[in-house]
């Protein structure tokens, strides 16, 4: 199959555009990727198993939860279920991502889902918010380097884990919450942002205290989403919904 040079150039330029967008995240997530590798080895993983988890799961928070549970005498199904609970939010990302990539082919989307971690989802939403179409090359540009570096991080962490200097003094252990605050603020212009933040924050804290991690993520998220869904629907949205049914004749 031959690809016209101009098409290849356009692909490369879009890919590079995505990569540039992802560089801050690659830098920001590196400490966690390395830390994951180091902790995994300390919890009884081999270097190969640590690298395999980063390469196949590719979801930082859930990987941390996973290795934390491996260290304790917890049944295997419970560990898998906990990873699922932390990652349940991806169901909601997936639904939104699917709507934004209707113009992609089936295999492009199947691959796209694999890379659909928090940063990719956030950047895709930001892109769509700016009124731009989500291109496959752009998405691959942001997703693939982040994935490769994430796997590399785990490998380095597993090999040199014990050589990391004082992670507390360097603030490395608290970079993830700061990063999530930044992402959170980026969505502040969405409707119902503040009520959702308050509802989710309160529910997550209560769940964290009385149900325990990792369920506070699913419970807190559900509280905010249900609040938004329960709010009165505006007349405009109601009319648009009714019109979409009329135009296509219903199912």
């Amino acid at each position: 199959m031959s690809v016209a040079p101009s098409a290849r150039r356009a692909f490369a330029s879009q890919f590079w555009r995505g990569t540039r967008r992802g560089i801050p995240v690659i830098v920001a997530s590196a400490p966690f990727g390395v830390l994951f590798g180091a902790l995994a080895v300390q919890n009884g993983f081999t270097v190969g198993e640590a690298v395999m988890m980063s390469a196949t799961v590719f979801a930082g928070a859930s990987q941390m939860v996973g290795i934390e549970l491996f260290g304790k005498a917890i049944p295997a199904w419970m560990i898998v279920l906990s990873v699922f609970a932390v990652n349940f939010r991806h169901v909601l990302y997936s639904a939104s991502f699917g709507r934004r990539t209707g113009h992609w082919s089936g295999w492009q989307r199947a691959l796209g889902f694999f890379f659909l971690a928090d940063p990719q989802y956030a950047e895709t939403e930001r892109m769509a918010e700016a009124g731009e179409t989500i291109g496959f090359a752009w998405y691959l540009g942001i997703g693939l380097p982040m994935y490769l570096v994430w796997v590399l991080d785990a490998w380095l962490g597993a090999l040199f884990g014990r050589l990391i200097p004082d992670t507390h003094a360097l603030g490395l252990d608290f970079l993830l919450p700061i990063y999530f605050v930044g992402l959170l603020m980026g969505f502040r212009r969405r409707p119902l942002w503040l009520p959702v933040v308050i509802a989710s924050g309160a529910a997550a804290m209560v769940a964290h205290l009385y149900v325990g991690s990792p369920w506070h993520v699913s419970i807190g998220a559900l509280a905010g989403v249900m609040l938004a869904a329960a709010m009165p629907v505006g007349k405009e949205a109601r009319d648009a919904y009714a019109a979409s049914g009329d135009a296509t004749g219903g199912r």
Partner: protein
């Protein structure tokens, strides 16, 4: 393969199912109800709040200060300034406040 290996693979399959599943389920509905739409629009704020909440709840003074500075920087600047500013406040705060 070791037990750890099998658990990791099962976790990977579950994770991929969450990432593909939301779309596969929702795409069966031709129209999206405004309430579902409103719920979907709330997802990022809801999820990122829950990821911050435990850290905020158990934060030391230095960590709490870093989160507040990060949020304030998020009102004006982009991700990079949030990250740099929050990180610097954290390191300085831990050095000064312990």
């Amino acid at each position: 393969m070791s037990e750890i290996g099998w658990i990791v693979l099962a976790a990977a399959v579950m994770t991929y199912l969450t990432r593909a599943g939301g779309h596969l389920v929702l795409s069966r509905f031709r129209r999206i109800h405004p309430r579902v739409e409103a719920g979907l629009n709330a997802v990022p704020a809801a999820v990122f709040t829950t990821l911050v909440a435990p850290a905020a709840m158990n934060a030391s003074p230095a960590e709490a200060l870093a989160l507040v500075v990060a949020a304030l920087l998020g009102l004006r600047g982009g991700m990079f300034s949030v990250f740099l500013g929050g990180g610097l406040v954290l390191i300085a705060g831990r050095y000064l406040l312990g």
